[in-house]
């Protein structure tokens, strides 16, 4: 429960930042998905069940505050979470390089899934070269891990000391 609270608070803050602040810094279409990074971080570090629930609820909030159909991001974040959790079980995730690799792969898969869902949902045209667009957004998102990961690690340490979470 304590893990879930931490994840939901940080996830919600990241969604607020995405809605209100990141658009002023990055071009709207290339702004990084900080919430996805929170989900990936939870997958690499956190408790499995709390992580699943936080990925699901953060996805629902992201769905409501973006133009996505309800359930799209909750599904995508669950996939991203399970992939991260799988990597954390099988590999040494303390290396920044590995976290980065996971962030790159999950971002790429997530953005591909969004466009796939849009394409399946209706005949829509994308004038942009989609693969290039996805790659740029993936790079932007994964680069943010440099800031987000230490921030989450330090916050988690402080939070653990404060309330005694594991």
């Amino acid at each position: 429960m304590k893990d879930l609270f931490f994840c939901l608070v940080f996830g919600s803050v990241s969604i607020i930042i995405q809605c209100c602040v990141l658009g002023k810094i990055f071009p709207m279409e290339f702004k990084p998905d900080l919430t996805l990074l929170v989900v990936v971080w939870v997958g690499l570090k956190g408790d499995y069940v709390s992580g699943l629930f936080s990925a699901f609820f953060l996805g629902i909030i992201e769905d409501l505050l973006s133009g996505a159909p309800l359930g799209l991001f909750s599904f995508i974040y669950l996939v991203a979470y399970m992939f991260s959790a799988f990597v954390s079980v099988n590999f040494d995730v303390d290396q920044l390089g590995l976290s980065w690799l996971v962030a790159i792969v999950t971002s790429f898969i997530s953005f591909c899934l969004v466009f796939l869902a849009r394409w399946l949902g209706g005949q829509v045209m994308f004038e942009l070269p989609i693969i290039e667009f996805i790659l740029i957004k993936t790079i932007m998102t994964s680069l943010c891990l440099i800031v987000v990961k230490p921030l989450l690690d330090n916050s988690w340490r402080g939070y653990s000391r404060l309330i005694g979470a594991t």
């Binding site: 809605c19 290339f30 992201e62 309800l70 045209m125």
Partner: protein, 281 residues
Amino acid sequence: MPRSIRDITIAVILTSLGLIMLFSSFDKGQSGTFVNLIYSVFKPVDQFVTFVQKRTAGIFNSYVWLVGVSQENRVLTEEVRLLRTEIMSLREKELENRRLKKILDLKSKLDFPTLVAQIIGEDASGLFRTVLVNKGSDDGVLRDMPVTVPEGIVGKINRSSTVMAQVIMITDPSVSVDCRVERTRERGLLSGSYSYSCLLQYLSKEAQIKQGDLVVTSGLDGIFPRGLAVGTVESVRLSEHGLFLEATVTPTARLTEIEEVVVVLGTQGGFSMESGLERKP
């Protein structure tokens, strides 16, 4: 129950729930209790962050520029800083005043009841062309209501809760608007293309359309009232199959810069949509 089975069961249930919600929500404007609850929680935070950001931007910029000023000029610099802040504030107010005047002008021109709403957030993912506005169904804002600014249409309401609503812009690929080229009265279907321009399709091959032509709403889609500016023609080309012409249209409204919008409080059936009312010149 063994832990691994419990974990897998939870993962399967949540994934299935996500998929069920995904496939059952493509054509619905979700506005149930849960949606209202989420929006109610996020609206004040969104508004607060936007408010603080607007208020502090000018002061922060001034402060950054003044760091490192020599001691001798401190008093004068302080005065300059205050004056700059005041000028910025006045400039901001002047711009706001101009925008509101234009919006008032638009409100008086429209024959329908309207409502001014402030933009309080952008699309969280950046993968959809949507913005959040601070008016919801309590103020009469419902799904599919047209949203416009004095320069041209912005989009339509995609989701509405009691306290806030989501506007999907005309540049989103899932939005289509029935339009006419104002000069030639040629009809076409305008769709978003994910870039900052739109695509006007299914124009007759004989259409005499040229760069700079104004595109307006036809009123035949049952969502947008007739005659609202949409954009200007940027280029015209033959479609992929060679059956029609298609044109790239740049929206007249600067969709990335708008701060206030006008919601037209009318939906299907509220506007005159009879075909044949528009006469060719």
